[in-house]
Symmetry: C2
Subunit: 149 residues, 2 copies
DNA sequence: CTGACTGCAAATAGTTTGCATGACG
DNA sequence: CGTCATGCAAACTATTTGCAGTCAG
C-alpha cells in the first residue's frame, strides 16, 4: 500500500465516513496509477477485481473524496471529471501527458508575483489559480517519433 | 458591434462556413457579455430575442467556433463547457470572478521559465498550459462585505 | 441551384435519486 | 444494533444524431 492510500483511508474516517471494502477498492484504484481517471475509468478498474461494485458507488465515493480534498481534478486532460489521488504535499500543480494520461506533480509555480500584480491592476480579490501543463512524457514522445519514421 | 464580433464573423466565412442569422445571433450573445457562458446560458440569451433558434444549433455553432479557435473555454468557473469570445490577442489567460462570472484577460503569464525548468526536470515535451485565476471582482467583493455587515 | 444549415424528435451518454437490503463500528 | 452505505432501477440532465425542409452564396 502506498503512502497516500493509507492516509486517504485515515482521513476518510476522520471525516466521519465508514471505511467499506468498496471505498477501499476505489481508493486503491485511484492510488494505483499515475494517470488521471474519469468516473467510468475508475469503475472499470474497480470492476475487474470486484464485479459487484456499482458505478453509483464510484460516483458517491468520488464525491466524498473530493469533498474531503483527498483527490483533485485535472482539466487539461480532456474530460473535466478526471481525478487523481491528492499527494501529501499541499499546494501543487500537474504536468499531464496528453498521450498516456500520466501526471507529474510540481509545487513551486512562482505565480505569487503575477497574482499580486493582477490583483492590483484589476482590483480583483484573488483566491486561487488553476495551472496545468500539457505535453508528452519521454516514453510517449519516443513512441510518436518511431511511428512517424 | 464590437471588434471581436466582426472578426469572428469574418473568420467563420474564411473557415468555409456560412454566416446565417442564427450564427450571428449566437456570436452576438457570446460577444455581448464579459461573462463565460454555458451552452444552456447561450441558448437562453439567444432565445429571448430569437425564440425560433434551437438549442441544437447553439451546440453546433459552439463546436464550429471552438474548432476555429474563435471562442475559448474556461474551467475554473465551475462548468467545463463555459465559453468566451476569443480576444484579438493571441496567447492569453483568464481571471474569473467566482460570483458574477465576469472574465478579465491577461497575456503575460511569465511561465516560460517554469516551463523550461519542468521540461528539463521531467523530460516532458511541453506543448502548452492552462492557467486561470479565480477570485472576486471589486463589485462582488463589495457586495459580499455589505451582506456580512 | 445546391450543398450546407436548421429545427424537431429521438437516441445516447453521463450523473443523480429513491428505496429496500446489507454491513461498519 | 443503529445508522450509514450499497446496489438496483428509474429519473434526470446534457449532448449527439437522423432526417426532411430551408436558405446563404
Amino acid at each position: 500500500m502506498i503512502y497516500s492510500e493509507k492516509i486517504t483511508e485515515q482521513e476518510l474516517r476522520r471525516g466521519g465516513y465508514k471505511l467499506t471494502p468498496q471505498r477501499r477498492a476505489i481508493i486503491g484504484a485511484i492510488s494505483g496509477t499515475q494517470e488521471h481517471l474519469t468516473p467510468a475509468a475508475i469503475y472499470k478498474r474497480v470492476h475487474r477485481k470486484h464485479p459487484s461494485i456499482g458505478l453509483v458507488t464510484v460516483y458517491r465515493t468520488i464525491d466524498i473524496l473530493a469533498e474531503l480534498d483527498l483527490i483533485c481534478e485535472t482539466h487539461a486532460g480532456g474530460s473535466c471529471r478526471s481525478y487523481l489521488m491528492r499527494r501529501p504535499s499541499g499546494h501543487h500543480h500537474h504536468l499531464i501527458c496528453s498521450e498516456c494520461g500520466r501526471v507529474v506533480d510540481f509545487t513551486d509555480c512562482g505565480l505569487e508575483k503575477l497574482e499580486r500584480r493582477l490583483s492590483k491592476e484589476t482590483s480583483f480579490k484573488i483566491n486561487g489559480h488553476l495551472l496545468e501543463f500539457i505535453g508528452q512524457c519521454l516514453e510517449c514522445s519516443r513512441k510518436q517519433k518511431e511511428k512517424n519514421s
